[in-house]
Every structure is written in structure tokens, then in C-alpha cells.
């Protein structure tokens, strides 16, 4: 509204201004013509010094209603004849004619004065001036101003009346669309829709497309949510399954832990009772049998313990935390030395090797590895057990090395099998589950374990985490 009003105003103003300028020009032109006519009529009066004739000529100007006064000046500038409408005899102030200038005019005080030199046969014979009022100009100005004001008012009124209609038809739906778009993006509520437009024009097309888009988004949202829910449910089901399996495994271990041991106790106990109470009745062979029975029962008990440990390692929750591996190795080494203080073993432990992993499980792994190193060096007088970091190219690996009995690399693939042993029970005790346990622990940490060794030249176990 403001814009159209301003434009209209500008247009009217420029028209009026142009018109006024051209009207002014026309007025001057008219005056000039009248001055020329009157001047040439008064030539003879000037030449023959006929004042009354000149005045008669001038008084003809009274036909023109705007002319206030007119006058003729002689060559010397003295007034020769004059005419004034109101007979007051006043002469206006006249602009001077510059040399060579035949005509000039001046606007002042609501009138315009035109001065023209009278020329007869190429020679200047006098000057004529005409003073005209500007009422015509002013009344024209007033008229035009009035007309344009009315036009402006009417058109603004009409615009005022029409604009609500346009608003409703065009701007309205668009604003509503914008509001809904904002609402949707803020609240993420895709179920709102824009009200459909009645008209069958571009606006309704826009609204239709917008609604279509919202429907699509809503559909996608729904499908996404459904997929998400399905996934959640599946995860839930799997987790329950896993929990159940774990619980079953726990119940199994528990029952093993309890129920398998009791009969073993009886076997061992009563064999011992036999040995003690009936030793006179038993020869050495008989006693030997009973001893074997006892040993077998005890061995079965260790096997059960080891199996349970192995399964516990697999089942238990892993908790990753920062751990000083060097410290763990050191503490286990000290424990081993305390257990058999008579043994001469040198420990070379690299300091400050920090890793991330489950502290309990890693401790079990180190116990097994160091325990093995301790055990398999027991046949030597002195031993050297090392722990450190081995970094040949890029991938760092920790190692535990001993200089004990070692193993035949031919059988290295059996090292980590459960209950697999490369030595007889007579040489070194054990169930053969230690390395299998270590491997499982290392694997659970995402690492790998391998070994190098030679018979009687010790063994080195490398592992990554």
C-alpha cells in the first residue's frame, strides 16, 4: 500500500511539475508575442513622438485579463507611455536588457515582467515592457493538485478495499504454509496439513504439493520407526536368548562344581582309608592300585577345576580399564618366588608397560604364563624369566620368555589345545588347560598369541592385545 501510494504520488508530482514548467514557457511566449505586436504598433508613435497614440496602443492590452501593467520607454530610458490595469500608474521594477539582448523577463512577487526592445529597420527605437500576473498559473496549480489528491485518495481507498481480497486469496495461504513449515520443523510433527485452497490456481497447487511432501515424510517416519522397533525387539530377543544361555551355563557349572566332586572325594577318601586301615592285608601291588585310584580321583578334581575356570573366563563380563601390565607381572613373580623361596630365578621385567583390558582376566593369563615359565624351568638350577615389549616392525607384542625345558616346535600347533600337553605328567605336572585359558583370554581382548621355542632352549610366548 505504501509503495503504490508513494509511486502514485511521485507520478502525479512529476506530471504537475512538467505541466507547470511548460505552462510557464507558454505564458512567457504569449507575453513575448503581445510585446512584439504592441511594440511594432507603437513604432510610428515612437518615431513621431506621439505619446497618446502609444498609450492607445498599450491600452489595447486590457483585453488580456492577466496583464497588470505595460509601458514603453524611449531610447534614453525615459518612460514614454504607460498602461496599468487598475489605473494606479505604478511601474514595476524592470530587469535590464543586456547589450545585444532583445528580450528578457523576470519572475518576482507573483508577477512576471517581460522587457523587449522595439526595433525598426534594424535599429532599436525603444523598449516595451509588459507585467503579467500569475493567477492562471496558480489556479492551474491548485486545480491539478486537487485532482491528483482526489485521484490518490480514491486509488488508495480502492487499494484498501481490494487488498484484503488478495491477502485472503494469495498471501493468506502462503503465510499459512510458511507457518506450518516452521511448526513442522520445530516440533517434528508431520501429521499437520495445510488447509487446501479453494481456488484452482497456482496457490492450491503449491498447497497440494506441500501436503503431499508432508505425507511422504510422515510415511517415511513411520517406516523408520517400525524398522527401529523391529530391530529393538530383535535385539531384545537375542539378548534374552543370550542371557538364558548364560544362565544355563552357570547352572551347569555350578552343578558340576558341586556334584562331580562329592563322589571323587569318596573315591579318594575311602581309598586312603583302605590304605591306612588295611595296610597289613594289602601287599605293595594292592597299595599301588589304591594309590593310582587316589591319584586318578585327584587328577579328575583338578581337571574339573580347570574346566570350570575356562568356562568362567568365557562367560564373565569383560571390563576394560587401564592396567599396568608390568606391575601385574612383578606381583605374580614375587608370589611365585615367595611360594618356593629356595629357587634361584632371575626376573627381568620391563617397566611401565600399560595396556587396556579386564584386569582380572589378564591377571589369570599372566599367572598361567608365568606359572608355566616357573614350572618348566624347575628342572634347572637357576632360571631366567623375562617380560617385555617386542616391536620388530610396527605391531607391538608383549612376551614372556624362559630358558627352561622349552618344547619341540614340531608340536607347536598343539600348544593351545585344551588338555593338550607336550610333556608327561612325570616330567611336569599340569592338566594342559593353562595355555588354552590364556588363549581364550587374549582372544577375548581381540589379540593373538603364539610361541617360539626349542627343546631345552626355553620358550617365548608372544601376545598382542
Amino acid at each position: 500500500m505504501l509503495v503504490s501510494g508513494a509511486a502514485l504520488l511521485l507520478a502525479c508530482a512529476s506530471f504537475i511539475a512538467y505541466d507547470l514548467v511548460s505552462f510557464r514557457q507558454a505564458t512567457i511566449y504569449n507575453l513575448s508575442i503581445q510585446a512584439q505586436i504592441a511594440g511594432s504598433n507603437a513604432v510610428s508613435a515612437l518615431l513621431f513622438d506621439d505619446q497618446s497614440s502609444a498609450e492607445k496602443t498599450l491600452s489595447a492590452l486590457q483585453v488580456s485579463p492577466n496583464i497588470i501593467s505595460a509601458g514603453i520607454l524611449a531610447l534614453d530610458g525615459k518612460p514614454f507611455a504607460a498602461y496599468s490595469r487598475d489605473n494606479s500608474g505604478r511601474t514595476p521594477e524592470l530587469p535590464r536588457l543586456a547589450t545585444g539582448q532583445s528580450e528578457t523577463y523576470r519572475f518576482s512577487g507573483g508577477t512576471v515582467v517581460l522587457v523587449r526592445s522595439i526595433v525598426f529597420q534594424g535599429k532599436s527605437t525603444g523598449t516595451i515592457y509588459i507585467q503579467s500576473g500569475l493567477e492562471a498559473l496558480y489556479s492551474r496549480l491548485r486545480l491539478y493538485a486537487g485532482i491528483s489528491a482526489i485521484v490518490l485518495a480514491v486509488s488508495l481507498l480502492v487499494a484498501l478495499l481490494i487488498s484484503p481480497i488478495f491477502q485472503r486469496e494469495i498471501a493468506g495461504p502462503i503465510v499459512q504454509l510458511a507457518e506450518i513449515a516452521q511448526l513442522v520443523s520445530r516440533d517434528k510433527n508431520y501429521s499437520v496439513r495445510a488447509a487446501p485452497a479453494d481456488s484452482c490456481d497456482e496457490v492450491s497447487v503449491l498447497v497440494g504439493a506441500f501436503n503431499g511432501m508432508l505425507s511422504q515424510i510422515q510415511e517415511r517416519e513411520r517406516a523408520l520407526q517400525k524398522a527401529h522397533d523391529e530391530l529393538e525387539q530383535r535385539v531384545q530377543e537375542r539378548t534374552t536368548e543370550l542371557d538364558n544361555t548364560n544362565k544355563e551355563l552357570e547352572a551347569f557349572s555350578y552343578s558340576v562344581s558341586h556334584d562331580l566332586r562329592a563322589p571323587l572325594r569318596a573315591i579318594d577318601g575311602f581309598s586312603q582309608a583302605l590304605l591306612e586301615d588295611y595296610s597289613e592285608k594289602l601287599d605293595s601291588s594292592g597299595q599301588d592300585h589304591l594309590q593310582r585310584v587316589r591319584l586318578a580321583a585327584q587328577r579328575m578334581s583338578s581337571l574339573i577345576d580347570d574346566l570350570l575356570n575356562l568356562s568362567r573366563v568365557t562367560r564373565s563380563e569383560m571390563r576394560r580399564e587401564k592396567l599396568d601390565l608390568s606391575a601385574v607381572v612383578r606381583s605374580i613373580a614375587e608370589e611365585l618366588q615367595r611360594g618356593t623361596p629356595s629357587r634361584k630365578v632371575t626376573f627381568v621385567i620391563a617397566d611401565g608397560l600399560k595396556v587396556e583390558g579386564d584386569s582380572r582376566l589378564l591377571r589369570v593369563a599372566i599367572e598361567n604364563l608365568l606359572g608355566n615359565a616357573w614350572k618348566y624351568t624347575s628342572s634347572h638350577d637357576s632360571a631366567r624369566i623375562e617380560f617385555g615389549l617386542h616391536q620388530p616392525n610396527g605391531r607391538p607384542a608383549y612376551f614372556i620368555r624362559d630358558d627352561g625345558a622349552g618344547f619341540d616346535p614340531l608340536y607347536s600347533n598343539r600348544l593351545f589345545g585344551a588338555f593338550q600337553r607336550l610333556h608327561s605328567m612325570a616330567e611336569f605336572p599340569g592338566t594342559g588347560i593353562g595355555l588354552a585359558t590364556v588363549q581364550r583370554i587374549i582372544r577375548r581382548h581381540g589379540g593373538d598369541i603364539w610361541a617360539e621355542g626349542a627343546v631345552e632352549k626355553g620358550a617365548t610366548f608372544y601376545f598382542t592385545l
Binding site: 562344581s257 558341586h258 566332586r261 563322589p263 572325594r265 577318601g269 575311602f270 586312603q272 587316589r294 580321583a297
Partner: protein
């Protein structure tokens, strides 16, 4: 007489025989009362049922409690003993095959004084009983009687 009783709560007759043998081997001559399930143990301790003529305020010197028992299991027996004023202070040693962490936790949580695992090796068992006997029957000071 009653004050030096060892209450052995054990359902397995083999284990019972072996425990008695181990006690004998260690020259422990206290009277041993054997309860073969949880409810029998509670009957004895509270002086009811078959033991209704027993004075419940006289606590045995130590109770050797197995966990896996028919009818009422060991942990439940322990819980009931600990929740009764009369038997709250009785020394209880859990003697069981299980080394499961949850059993140990529950045992201590319910107020057992000690938790000992029964070894399979009989010689070790004898040694364990010797140590238990030495500690609970000789060194350990009994809780005072008759306090409410």
C-alpha cells in the same frame, strides 16, 4: 556335655563318614551330632521335632554346615539361625565342595563365620579338619551363653 558338641550338617553319607574319620584321625573326641538335612539341623538348633527335649540355649561349639542339602538348603539354615536371637551367635563354618563366588558371597553375607572348601584329596581333607579343629575347638573363644 552339650556345650562341646560339633553339629555336622551333611547329607552325603560318604562325606559324613570321611569327616568323622578325619575328626578321629585328629583325636578330636567331641560329641558329633549329624543332621542329614536342613530341617533336621534346625530342629536340633531350635529344640523341636525330634530334639524337642533339648535345651536350645545351649549352642554347639561349632556347626559344620554343608550347602547342598535336601529339604532346606545350607544357606537357608544359616539365614534362619542368624535371624533367631537364640542361635544368632552360634559359630558356623560352611564346609562345602563349591567354590562358586556366589556361594561364598551369600555365605558371608548371611553371616557365616568361615568358609572352607572340601578338598578331594583326603589327606588334604584331614589336614583341613585338623586346622579347623585346632582353631574352632581350641583357640576360638566361644560366644557367651545366656545373653539376650
Amino acid at each position: 556335655m552339650d556345650d562341646n558338641v560339633i553339629l555336622l550338617v551333611e547329607d552325603n553319607p560318604d562325606d559324613e563318614a570321611l569327616t568323622l574319620r578325619a575328626l578321629k584321625k585328629n583325636n578330636i573326641v567331641n560329641q558329633v551330632v549329624v543332621a542329614r538335612d536342613g530341617s533336621e539341623a534346625l530342629d536340633y538348633m531350635f529344640g523341636r521335632g525330634n530334639y524337642s527335649d533339648r535345651d536350645a540355649s545351649r549352642l554347639p561349639q561349632v556347626i559344620l554346615l554343608d550347602l547342598k542339602l535336601p529339604k532346606i538348603d545350607g544357606l537357608e539354615v544359616l539365614r534362619q539361625l542368624r535371624s533367631d536371637q537364640r542361635t544368632k551367635l552360634a559359630p558356623v563354618v560352611i564346609l562345602t565342595s563349591s567354590n562358586e563366588e556366589q556361594d561364598r558371597f551369600k555365605g558371608y553375607d548371611l553371616g557365616a563365620n568361615s568358609y572352607v572348601r572340601k578338598p578331594v584329596d583326603f589327606n588334604q581333607f584331614i589336614e583341613a579338619v585338623r586346622q579347623l579343629g585346632l582353631y574352632w575347638l581350641v583357640f576360638n573363644e566361644r560366644p557367651p551363653v545366656g545373653r539376650r
